[in-house]
Symmetry: C2
Subunit: 627 residues, 2 copies
């Protein structure tokens, strides 16, 4: 498990072909690592160069890629993450989803940076990766099991309680289009349907364990950042105290919290479902990812009326929104139960909740009836109905089979104008931040290669939630020469801010680094230098971000996506019913104009297709075609 | 003369109206300084906002602006410079020219950052600026004097030998279109005809003296850079040893040295006119600008056959090329004499030499005859003829009156296809680096708002002169994520490198800082922070560069310039006659393509007009129009 540090930063790719059971490892050199960084950068590279256009995402031809970055596994808060990617069964485009927990740190210590799984096993299998070796192991006995039991069984049969397990439950096995990959029972690589890819390959789990971490070029540089975080823990105090969603009441007031499928504004009972209430009523602990002092992950326990197993953690903000307010539900125990079920079955809480909200709006409008729902009164606010739907979706039973396809495909099947209720971009359901409040977020949803995603850009929302200033900025972008822009604006200056923030996030998703630790652009560059030995900079990071985003775009263009796919649902060009945004619809032309300026800034033409010159400039003109 | 440093960096503008003799001073605040930086940035701002489109550059409506930057006057090598700008009588567009010496440091110590001179004096005057005050003084007795006598007389009548004088000689008085402003007898703000603007205003000189330097935000930061330079003087050793032009023999071999009006390749006698020969045969000393340890300025003395006064310094590389090889002249004493004359008369050695070379080629082709030249046999290689022409140009006598208009206007008047011999872009004569050798330099000549200029970009030439690598790079741009590009290339990646280097230079011209001190991008940003207290960065510098270049572009667009004006003379699409480039013409379509990609990178449309969105993004949309 040697790694050469002289010659710079490098890594190893573990490749497992489940069709022929071939396992190989290949080195990736310093130049490659510096060019594509890691995480989503690696994923985009391998998908572009190895996955043929037009394949069925659930066929053996698709590949699933687990990619770490140079920061993954560092004993520093925020560095526990890795990315999982593939051609998405939900969007049909490129997908990637990041997750924390300890899996990434163990995979790195096992000697690897990338896992590429190809083909399809005849029978269920799992992978056992430890200290430079990988075995394909039989998993028939695990098939059908929930995630908690899967992990327990694997740890038990490998006789090592410290093994970390990435895995699917029944949702992944049943190819729910938005199945997640659970890393342990409560950390999800949630978005894009990565769990369905595992399911389609008969891959139940990837268990990892390792003992050696690669050397760091300049450990003093890393220590400096560790010290900084120690001294600035107040910046993440809200996460430590409450986990995600601490500003929930303010979110509702501002109009940021989606209510009843993004239709309504105002959710008076918001204070019944907050992280503060969770803390007071059901929280039994907080957990953290590897090496992270923040410990933002709620652990809840409920006995009555639902038994909620603390092994499955507790609901994040996105889950509270999606299974709660988006479904008109103010029953925090039901939300906690729903969170547990989604984690047990490995389905994405966001797409699950918004798909259920879609069905509820259909039901309220008589476009679905109790005949379709097996008698369930699928009304907004019906907590029991929500829980029932989760079960049905994970098992693809009854209407669950329809909703397991996601809201867009469900609407296509139902017809009758229900498309208006499918709140998605590129068929991926919107997360729990309201684009009518934040135009830059709306732009992010539109242009994100992975479909609507809460990890894109939320500069306006951060700003409106935590300050009262009229001008929006990214504080650490001021030294970069990026001036503030008015809150209501989505003009060129705001688009530049958006791009800067999107770049920061795509770099974090490549390093791979947690968005919750508020490192500045500069700190991220310095940390990269410290770990890799590269003399790098914020500017190089911006350039790499442009490269990676353009690679993702290339993949989607190849799959037939056009500028027309970069659009928000019609709902957002109408105001909310009541609430803070009851007179604030988005303006279609304004958003289209912003989109075009974003294309321009990226070096993409008016159709959103990367210019050949830009590809050449970024050194990725050779990645464009594959036959 | 107080300056507030709390609240950041700021400055003062001294405004002198020669028509009504009004003198005013105005503060410029921190926001303004950070947005436009100084030097060319300030010049572009004031020209855009105060000079009406379409005015005659030599009318009282034009303004001449002397602009320092935050670094000007610092006791650090390279910080002696300032910029002078106006609407150019040569190009009709924006002009700016930087110069070192001690003038800028004294003007800053007098309490000012910018001098704007407006209107026109009825009689010759000069300005006397000292410690926060400015007086308009009568100068009838100075009119007609050479620069050396002008400075001596002013120092004598103001009884202060330490006064620094910016001034014109007869060339400026006679409105030679490329008259320079001499700062002392041998430092020229040479390009763009700034001396003619002074002449048109009856402004003979600007004398300055001051005693107080504004405070520095972080003097340790500045000391760090001073120490670095002290320890790295070997990087500038060639300048210290020989002044400009040390690699002259290699330049000739590569094809970089223009021979006979850029027509020929190969100048076997190049070793007769090198700085090395000058050192051995006529150099009596080296001079430096304020606070600079490099001391790159040759001082020569010749007795026979020409008396060359050491007070006028000695020929720089550009002068050796323009009055030497470009005219086919290998007589180093004649070149030294020509340098002295140009400095005494205040005319730009480059445009002078290339205009004479133009005339020589016309003469050789029979398109000018001895009838036109008052009997002078104006052949390539005729040193006496070259010296005679300088006299005639400065006095606008005979053919000198024609050549004082520059080669483009002279060709227009002569007709008969002589346009082919006018080696200029935007009517400004090319400096002494061959675009056929360096495509990025050619692109620089094309798109530079000030016409062909040697200060733009010479990345390929630096590279070819000093290394043997196949790939061109800017070493300190590697950490910025800008990869090398092949030497022969002018594709997107090279255009990006060009833009990066152009940005570096425009920032240096705004700070104002000498191009000869090889500070990295990072050092320039750190130095800016140290002086101003701004938390700035390389990225902000790049952004400011984009802003300033776009402002210059806006000015030219307003004056009617189009993409068609961004073109090289036809000569360069043919190979040289003999020499290293005898089979290496430029390719027109390739250069046009590079130009279009540069426009794109700048946010200018295909016609080279800045997009409204880009103006808005850069916060300069309000600068576009003036009535």
């Amino acid at each position: 498990m040697e790694r050469k540090v002289p010659g710079g930063y490098n890594g190893r790719v573990l490749r497992v072909n489940l069709t022929n059971h071939k396992v190989t490892t290949d080195p990736i050199d310093d130049l490659f690592c510096r060019k594509y960084l890691g995480g989503v950068g690696f994923i985009a590279y391998y998908l572009l160069t190895e996955v043929r256009p037009g394949i069925d995402p659930l066929s053996p031809e698709n590949k699933i890629i687990f990619a770490l970055g140079p920061l993954t596994g560092l004993t520093l808060g925020g560095c526990a993450r890795h990315a999982v990617g593939a051609k998405s069964p939900l969007t049909g485009g490129i997908a990637k989803s990041e997750v924390g927990e300890y899996w990434g740190s163990q995979f790195k210590r096992a000697g690897f940076d990338v896992l590429i799984v190809e083909g399809k096993a005849e029978q269920p299998v799992y992978l056992w990766i430890h200290n430079g070796k990988a075995e394909i192991k039989e998993a028939l006995h695990l098939w059908g099991k929930n995630t908690k039991e899967t992990q327990e069984t694997i740890r038990s049969e490998l006789a090592d309680a410290k093994i970390r397990v990435a895995m699917i439950g029944p949702g992944g096995e049943n190819l729910v289009k938005y199945a997640s990959i659970m890393h342990g029972p409560f950390d999800a690589a949630g978005r894009g349907g990565m769990g369905a890819i595992m399911g389609s390959k008969n891959l139940k789990a990837v268990a990892v364990r390792g003992d050696s971490m690669p050397p760091i070029a300049n450990s003093d540089g890393v220590k400096k950042v560790i010290s900084w975080l120690k001294e600035n823990m107040d910046l993440v105090k809200a996460f430590s105290d409450f986990g995600t969603g601490a500003p929930m009441v303010r979110f509702e007031k501002l109009g940021n919290l989606p209510i009843r499928n993004f239709r309504d504004g105002g959710f008076p009972n918001v204070d019944m479902i907050t992280p503060q209430v969770i803390k007071e009523t059901m929280r039994v602990g907080m957990e953290g990812c590897f090496a992270c002092p923040v410990r933002c992950k709620k652990v809840v326990e409920v006995e009555d009326p639902y038994k909620v197993d603390r092994a499955y953690g507790g609901p994040e903000y996105e889950t509270i929104g999606a299974l709660g307010s988006a479904c008109g539900i103010d029953d925090v125990k039901a939300i906690a139960k729903g969170s547990e079920l989604c984690n047990a079955y490995s389905i994405d809480t966001i797409s699950t909740g918004v798909s259920i909200a879609f069905a509820m709006e259909c039901f309220e409008n008589g476009l679905l009836t109790t005949e379709d729902t097996h008698g369930v009164e699928l009304e907004f606010g019906n907590a029991e109905a929500m829980l029932k739907m989760i079960e049905l979706i994970a098992r693809r039973e009854g209407i669950g089979d329809l909703l397991a396809e996601g809201s867009a495909r469900a609407a296509e099947k139902i017809g009758k104008g229900t498309e208006a209720f499918a709140i998605q971009v590129k068929k991926q359901e919107l997360p729990m931040h309201e684009p009518r409040l934040s135009k830059s977020l709306g732009l992010g949803y539109m242009v994100n290669p992975h479909g609507a995603d809460h990890m894109d850009s939320m500069i306006d929302i951060f700003f409106s939630a935590f300050t009262e200033q009229p001008n929006v900025t990214i504080p650490d972008a001021i030294p970069l020469g990026l001036e503030p822009a008015p809150f209501e604006d989505i003009g060129p200056r705001k688009v530049v801010l958006f791009k800067a923030f999107q770049s920061k996030r795509i770099i974090a998703d490549s390093l791979v680094f947690c968005h919750f630790i508020p490192f500045s652009y500069r700190q991220m560059a310095e940390l990269t230098s410290a770990v890799t030995g590269w003399d790098t900079s914020v500017m190089e990071h911006f350039r790499i971000a442009e490269r990676i985003l353009t690679m993702c775009r290339l993949f989607n263009v190849r799959e037939g996506f056009t500028a027309a796919d970069d659009k928000l649902p019609a709902r957002f060009f109408e105001p909310t019913k009541g609430g803070a945004l009851s007179e604030k619809p988005l303006n279609f032309e304004q958003m289209e104009k912003a989109k075009r300026y974003y294309y321009f800034l990226m070096g993409w033409d008016e159709s959103g297709v990367p210019m050949n010159e830009k590809l050449e400039e970024l050194g990725i003109d050779h990645l464009g075609t594959i036959s």
